[in-house]
Amino acid sequence: MSDTGLVLKDVYRVFPGDITAVSDVNLEIENGEYIVFLGPSGCGKTTTLRLIGGHDDPSSGTITIDGELLNGVSPAQRPVTTVFQHYALFPHKSVLQNVEFGLKMQGMDKTAREQQATAAIELVGLSAMMHRKPRELSGGQQQRVALARVLVTRPKAILLDEPLGDLDRLLQMKMRVELRGLQRELGITFIHVTHNQEEALSMADRIVVMGDAIIQQVGTPTELARHPRNEFVAKFMGDNNVLHGTIESASGGNVVINTPHGKVEVPGSGTAGEKGSMAIRASAVNISTDAVPAVNGVRVRLDFVEYLGDSIKLHLDFNGEPFLAKVDEERFGEVQAYEGKEVTATWSVEDGHLLEQ
Amino acid sequence: MTYIWYLIALVLLVIPFSAMVFLPINKSKPVLLGFFLIFIVFMYGPMMTMGVLSFQGPFGSMTLPAKDLGSLHWFTELRAESSLMVGVRDGITKSLWVSLVVAAITAVLSLSLGMAFRRQFRGGGILFYAILLSLMTPGLLLSLGLSFLLYYIGFNKGEGMLGYVPIIGVQAVWALPFGFLVMMSVFNRYDARAEEAARDLGASSFTTFREVTLPLIWTGVFGAGLFGFTLALNEFERTFLISGAINTLPLKLYIITSSSVLRPYVYSLGVVTIIISFLLIALFLIVSAITGRKKALAIEEDGSGVDDLPSMTAAAASGD
């Protein structure tokens, strides 16, 4: 176990009535990392954040930062601070008073804390709004005040609970870049909770996917996109087709799975006769009017076409089950498909991906 | 001597207040719970003592210790044929009638003002504060001013049916802000799209009001009326100088306490009014609980369509 960074070891949180919100969480976060907790609502990601922030205590397990045990330490005493969902700004205090609050609580004298607060406000680009009240600011500006209020106390890690949830889409995109840039500049650990896959993929050094109270997978955005570990992650990350079946044979680093959709071959190893599942990214699926090949191909009907701007997402129907493909416009033009037409979907062996059972 | 009492009171009050200010919630909670219980005793204690003393025997006194507890003597006394008791019963009858009329008027006025404030209009702010002003006007002043007005126009106070007009008027003014706030809270939670749909389908504004709006808010109107009833039943200072010979129960009680030798029938009378008031509160709670349950059920059945509501409203508005 590392003695630098934030370490969660065997962390459980069971609420009264035997409701397990967080189960068996083991995670090491290095200093300066941008970590995103990703998962559907009720998956335990916010509870985990609250455990780290000290707003809740784990039922068992330990949380340490730089080797220092955090269990039982009050939120105020922890070297981590939270940027709350909906910002939780003090509505009766000005931007400056909001930002200097933490320093005031530490007992710092007025000139020193004003100086530091001013610097933090400058850092988030709100110098012109210093004396305004939160209600006189836009959503994005309020978000920055919340950030400055936390930065000024120089925590070892900043916890952000759905920080972009209240913003409209365009502003979200802008703030993603800004947040990421700020984190690089400061070198502070950011732990960010969201249910938005795109947001997680675009911001994180590493993503922690949570589902049903446990960590489903930890990995870089590329790892998660390319190699989802199990069906939950594959489905949650979106645009993955998951096929189930029985392993027919395994040879040469590949296995062949017999599915109701036909035979598929994927890299990996397994024992014949066991159950096997595989995932294939929508963007790795190709469509054509050719005949169906023996492996890695299905005959599907085109249900409807979704234009995404830079690519086209095809919602396909395989005997009543949905199947997704993402192709570029050029390819789509070549196939001359229309809604209702039958086409063949194929993919190459190395794009398929064997899932853990 | 009295300063000592003030000092004791102050010291007692500083304890819960500083516990609330300086201790974390889990530590201040038991202190505040204790204070809350003392507060309940403070609020209900006098009434309880009065209640106990009303069950004394014929030789019961106005103060402790109670004599021959367990008797209904002072309640049966209320039915005596003495001129005093006849007056008291007459007061009760008058109070009930006045309250009933006030309830109806409060309901109608609250409903119409509630409807008015559903959209912005010029002078709305002034009207709003005028409604609230009645909440903040001491009853005696209202009574005084109205008696001047009556004197000025040569009105004979308390004579005939006409004598009830100022009494009812001033009591409805007192109840109006309460009823109005009830209606405001009803309309704040109220979904106007049903009305818009009715208008879309060709209903006139009157038909819409009768067929759609009223059935949806009648419990609020009923609540406003109930406020009117209860407040009128207990009101006294506002009618004090304008009632003439029309003595409603609270007026009669005031006259009794300030003139005659008091006997425990005053307490039994108090108990009777308390029981009536609490029955009215219970009625109000039952009605709002029933409508609350209906709404909860409706939401449960409705499922998750809530997210689409804004877009529907927008569509309805643009189609106008």
């Binding site: - | 009050l13 912005q120 001491p138 006294f236």
Partner: protein, 297 residues
């Protein structure tokens, strides 16, 4: 209540100006007739001359004010009434705030919260005269308090006769009668407080005392203010409590107004009432001013 943004629900469908007028009219007439006109009348009558049974309309003079300020009685009573109102208001804050705080922040489930709030509020619906009368057996010479002091605790040998018919008794009864006007607005303010702002303050290192001083109290101030206005104004205009519990030996401006009325000297009653309104208005203005200053700082 309060800000003008809360004034309009804006949930209604479009309507014609005529409909608006129709909805406004009955209530407006009612308020003009039974609220505004009486208040205007008080000021007018205070400026008119006295006749043996009433007043002569539109005969302007300031004699009524001369009569009430002839002796020091009125001014002394006014001072006492102001002092009593301030005292009762202060006591109502000291009692009402912790009660509202307990209800809003210590009671966990909403159901329980509503139930307790109803229990607290129920006495408001009991006839006001009855609530005053209910103090008779408690504060009297042989009342509950004396009974405890003499018989149970034995701390005093003789019953304290000063309990009833004293300013302390009046203060106690007034606090009990009006404290609900303080509890209710503070409760609503505290119950709708942004929980996350409090958590954020704690997260940033605020002690319980600091959280209260920096976040909870400033945010609940509008409720305290509304409560103060209610209690101050209503106690200033008090009459029945002082008369029944004070037993005719203690005066308030309200009882003086009533006395002038029974003489009858209607213009003097009106002048006294006008002075009362003036003091109340100044008091409310100071409170509102105080709140504005707080908001700027």
């Amino acid at each position: 209540m309060g800000g003008s943004s809360a004034v309009v629900a804006t949930t209604g469908p479009r309507r014609s100006p005529l409909t608006t007028v129709a909805w406004i009219l009955p209530g407006t007439i009612w308020l003009l007739l039974f609220l505004i006109a009486p208040l205007v009348m008080i000021i007018l009558v205070s400026l008119w001359e006295r006749t043996p049974v009433g007043f002569a309309a539109f005969s302007f003079s300031l004699d009524a004010y001369g009569r009430i300020f002839e002796t020091s009685v009125f001014l002394d009573t006014l001072k006492n009434t102001i002092f009593r109102s301030l005292l009762v208001t202060a006591l109502c804050i000291l009692i009402g705030y912790p009660i509202a705080f307990y209800l809003a922040r210590c009671v966990k489930t909403i159901k329980f919260q509503i139930a307790l709030f109803i229990v607290v509020l129920a006495p408001f619906w009991v006839a006001y005269v009855v609530r005053i009368i209910a103090w008779l057996p408690v504060l009297g010479r042989q009342g509950v308090i004396n009974y405890f002091l003499v018989e149970v605790l034995g701390v005093v040998d003789e019953p304290i006769s000063a309990l009833f018919y004293s300013t302390f008794a009046i203060t106690l009864a007034l606090v009990q009668l009006y404290v609900l006007f303080m509890v209710t607005p503070i409760f609503f303010q505290l119950a709708t407080l942004d929980e996350a702002a409090i958590e954020a303050a704690r997260d940033l290192g605020a002690t319980p005392g600091k959280v209260f001083r920096e976040v909870i109290f400033p945010l609940s101030l509008p409720g305290v203010l509304i409560g103060c206005i209610f209690v101050f104004v209503l106690v200033m205009g008090e009459f029945a409590t002082v008369r029944i519990i004070g037993g005719g030996t203690i005066q308030s401006v309200g009882t003086l107004v009533n006395d002038y009325y029974t003489i009858p000297d209607l213009p003097a009653a009106a002048a006294a009432a006008t002075m009362l309104v003036a003091v109340m208005t100044v008091g409310v203005a100071i409170l509102l001013r105080f709140s504005k200053i707080r908001e700027v700082v």
